[in-house]
């Protein structure tokens, strides 16, 4: 039943006391697909990434990686199986140099390719710099690089372009699209910048108040009246 899906969430819930941030969400992303995950603030997008990546465990629902149930596995175990993620708030190792932290990340996975990842993300010239001393835009790409070391099968990205200039975020989108194709990485991407989402995603899932509102190709979603009302407004 899970043939062809790289990452799947089945009946995913997340409750805080009496409040449900996610109410039985189903999501399935095909191998090699770049899926956008959009919705208004508080829709549960980051929470869904947290559940899929293992930051949150012990909730109802299941998570499948290449058809294998990983619901009980810790984040580090999921990472070693090829499920990587980046963070909305830059989450790097400030005191370590760029190269050193990528090297450390590579020890947990096979087929590391640290030099390749640094080259693809324009970090080579910064290799010896402590991460705290590089610019914000460089830190965002380092955050992404930490997730890309070892060529994960599935990449969960929580607003990779947050805080970047328009130019920077389009540059990042191009790199992402290119790497996902060449390395055959399946991507689930939370992003507020609709231009980025529409330009690089194969399909889009819309969350609203912890539930799936719509799902489909880019053109369908842009035309969907419910999505326009709940989220896109006149922007689309």
């Amino acid at each position: 039943m899970s043939e062809g899906f790289a990452i799947q969430g089945i009946g995913v819930e997340r409750r805080y006391g009496g409040f449900s941030a996610l109410k039985g969400v189903d999501i399935a992303v095909k191998r090699g697909e770049i899926r956008g995950l959009i919705g208004p603030n508080g829709a549960g997008k980051s929470t869904l990434i947290d559940v899929l990546s293992g930051r949150v465990r012990g909730q109802p629902g299941r998570v499948l990686l290449d058809g294998k149930d990983v619901s009980g596995l810790k984040p580090q175990e999921r990472r070693r199986l090829g499920l990587a993620r980046s963070f909305q708030r830059t989450n790097i190792f400030p005191a370590l140099s760029v190269e050193q932290q990528l090297r450390i990340a590579s020890w947990a996975v096979a087929d590391a390719g640290v030099e390749e990842v640094m080259a693809e993300l324009n970090l080579t010239a910064l290799a010896g710099m402590p991460a705290a001393e590089i610019s914000y835009g460089d830190q965002r790409r380092l955050d992404l690089a930490l997730a890309l070391v070892g060529r994960p099968r599935v990449l969960l990205l929580d607003e990779p372009a947050a805080g970047l200039t328009v130019e920077e975020s389009h540059g990042l989108a191009t790199i992402l699209r290119d790497l996902a194709n060449r390395w055959n990485v399946t991507v689930l991407l939370v992003e507020h910048d609709m231009q980025v989402v529409f330009s690089i995603c194969d399909g889009i899932t819309v969350l609203h108040l912890g539930q799936k509102l719509a799902e489909g190709g880019v053109a369908d979603i842009r035309a969907d009246q419910r999505v326009v009302t709940a989220y896109l407004g006149t922007e689309a």
Binding site: Q76, R79, A84, F87, F93, A95, A105, T124, A127
Partner: protein
Amino acid sequence: MTSIVDKGAPAEVRPASKTARILGVAALALAIGIAAPWLVASKLTLSLTTQAIFDALLATSVGFLVLQNGRVSFGQAAFFGLGGYAFGVLVARQLMAPELAFILALALPTLIAFLLGIVFARITGVAHAMLTLAVGQAFYEVAFRWRELAKGDDGMSFELPERFFGFASRHFQDPAVMVVVAWSILVLALAGLALFVNSRVGQIAAAVRDNEERARFIGHDTTIPPAIVYAISAFLAAIAGLLQATYNGYIAPQMFHWSLSGSALIMAVVGGAQFIVGPAIGAVCFFFLKDFAGRFAEYWPAIVGTVLVAVTLLMPQGMVGLASRAWTGRRSKP
């Protein structure tokens, strides 16, 4: 994207040459130490230096926890005391060969620290400091109250057996010998720490210190590497305690006391806890400052305190931090 000026990666020191450099410096330091008793005639100076080296080992132990785990401990004397007591009690009761007692006295604190470390590594900041303080004082109370163990508050003298590791054991209470033994152990300990910091486990521990959550999300276990750092740190404290107990032939509950942990922490910070050698240098300077002030003034703690305040204000990175900044500053000038 950010503009990139230079495509070439900055020159990185290769791990193999780093190891060679560490071992080279260590060999040089060992040679100097072995020559010391011939160069220094005064028994008093040798004896004071020996004691200063014990302090340096304890300060290194506390500083390493700050450096590699980012944790401040107020209970490191527990492992110092445990090393000394385990050895003293086992030898005094002649329960086993002294060599075996020596090994046990190092293994026991190391193992305890590893197990405690699994829990302590999850706790940060003030809570961590308070917890280590409480655990350390619990050991102190046991040593203080349990008279049958080692005469409680009075402390206990013990006789070393005739021979120890094949040498006449009176040598270990001769400052001209002990200064070389203690110095050699300190040098080997510092070299070992430098090698550990560059090892995989050491670097993963540094990553956990920097950002525990991200370390998990790049696929690393975040429990064992910090626990290994706790174990190494306790091992060093235990060696210091054991050497001091051997040298003095005496153990007392003060070896566990939090004030000893606290002064070791001060020495580490004064020397520069961001550097492996910082705490040892801080401890030696602190020791001789205390000695110097004590000879000339009745209220010597006031002098020591004033100097400490000045050092803390003027050198936030410690003495080694200041020296290293001055060095890089001079080198970067054309």
